[in-house]
């Protein structure tokens, strides 16, 4: 059982197998699963045009499980690059998993997780689950967060693999205007999800991430996200702590 960390929580927090899994599935099926289905259909058809087999494309979605890296792999393979260049580009495009895993694992609030199980949890992580959990975890009892995460993440991973195969086998001919709307949905979804994330330092970091990405993309396009993360995140961290301290001082003086 995954509820191996029964922490006492206030009664208004969500707990219990059925309730938590239902919330995870409802949260997934109410949007993210379909977004994954559609975006991975795009990946499936690109993978086909680059010469990958259907089962290769599906395994790529399952193993890499990070669209920027998958797109880098397909694009560089299509243009006939060497293996080292492809792997390096894919790895760089997915390097965000390092800070994402570090910032995510402690929020699962598991005290006695073995190393292999933590690796499995890390493999399941994607930007969708990360953002959704950061938003929903405050409403889920600590002992049940892992169950929520695994249910949510597996359901969207399944949707992604199905989407990859669908996109590979079915050439979908939708009108361009509709396709544009569908592509737009993915970043829009993340923007809405993250707008509800609490914390001064987190919010500051997101603002500074947006402010610095145009410059870092212009000067260092290959590592723009890493530069933005380090610069924007560090500034956000310092500024957020400063604002927190000031708020506490103002509160104490009142």
């Amino acid at each position: 059982m995954d509820a191996d960390n029964p922490v006492k929580d206030p009664p208004e927090l969500l707990a219990g197998n059925v309730a938590v899994m239902r919330k995870a599935l409802v949260d997934s099926l109410s949007l993210p699963a379909f977004i994954l289905l559609f975006t991975m259909m795009g990946f499936g058809s690109l993978a086909r045009s680059a010469g990958f087999g259907a089962e290769m494309a599906a395994v790529a979605s399952l193993l890499i499980w990070g669209l920027p890296g998958q797109l880098a792999m397909v694009e560089l393979t299509r243009t006939g690059q060497g293996l080292m260049a492809i792997v390096l580009a894919c790895s760089l495009a997915n390097a965000r998993f390092l800070p994402m895993v570090v910032s995510f694992m402690p929020t699962l609030a598991r005290k006695r997780a073995s190393f292999p199980r933590m690796l499995l949890d890390a493999q399941l992580l994607s930007i969708n689950s990360w953002a959704m959990c950061m938003r929903e975890f405050p409403q889920v009892a600590a002992g049940w967060r892992h169950r929520y995460y695994v249910t949510f993440a597996s359901s969207i991973l399944l949707a992604a693999v199905v989407g990859t195969l669908l996109g590979y086998h079915i050439a979908v001919l939708l009108p361009l205007t509709l396709v544009l709307g569908l592509i737009f949905v993915s970043p829009l979804f993340f923007a809405l999800v993250l707008s509800a994330v609490p914390g001064r330092a987190q919010r500051m970091s997101m603002l500074l991430g947006c402010a610095t990405i145009p410059l870092s993309h212009f000067f260092w396009p290959a590592v723009d996200l890493l530069v933005t993360g380090l610069v924007g995140g560090s500034l956000g961290f310092v500024l957020g702590n400063y604002l927190d301290k000031r708020a506490r001082r103002d509160h104490a003086n009142r």
């Binding site: 894919c90 997915n94 709307g181 737009f184 970043p187 829009l188 500051m204 947006c210 996200l225």
Partner: protein
């Protein structure tokens, strides 16, 4: 070096991504979840993810690049309007934003 078997590419790319995840697990096992280092890494994650989203919307490399910036930004504004109007329902915001982008493209070209 050209590769004949694409399975090699898929598996190598999977391993290359897993490298970062495993490194993350190694780091997370050695840090204090209430400490300054953890909070700093969280800030770095938020800045990276926000930068990625901003890049996807404002400086897209996908087909979205064919849509003019005012239409993209306008559709984001409409999405947030619908999201808050419908009591923070994600579906409302996403559907409104996606449809308004398609609509504005069809209408304004």
């Amino acid at each position: 070096m050209q590769i004949d078997n694409f399975w090699v590419i898929v598996l190598a790319c999977g391993a290359a991504t897993f490298f970062w995840r495993a490194l993350g697990v190694l780091v997370t096992r050695r840090i204090d979840a209430n400490g300054a280092f953890f909070r700093w890494v969280t800030c770095v994650s938020y800045a990276m993810v926000a930068g990625l989203i901003f890049r996807m919307i404002v400086m897209p490399e996908s087909e979205l690049a064919s849509v003019s910036l005012p239409i993209r930004v306008g559709a984001v504004a409409i999405a947030f309007g619908a999201y808050f109007l419908f009591k923070r329902r994600l579906v409302a915001g996403v559907v409104a934003g996606g449809l308004s982008l398609s609509g504005l493209v069809a209408w304004l070209g």
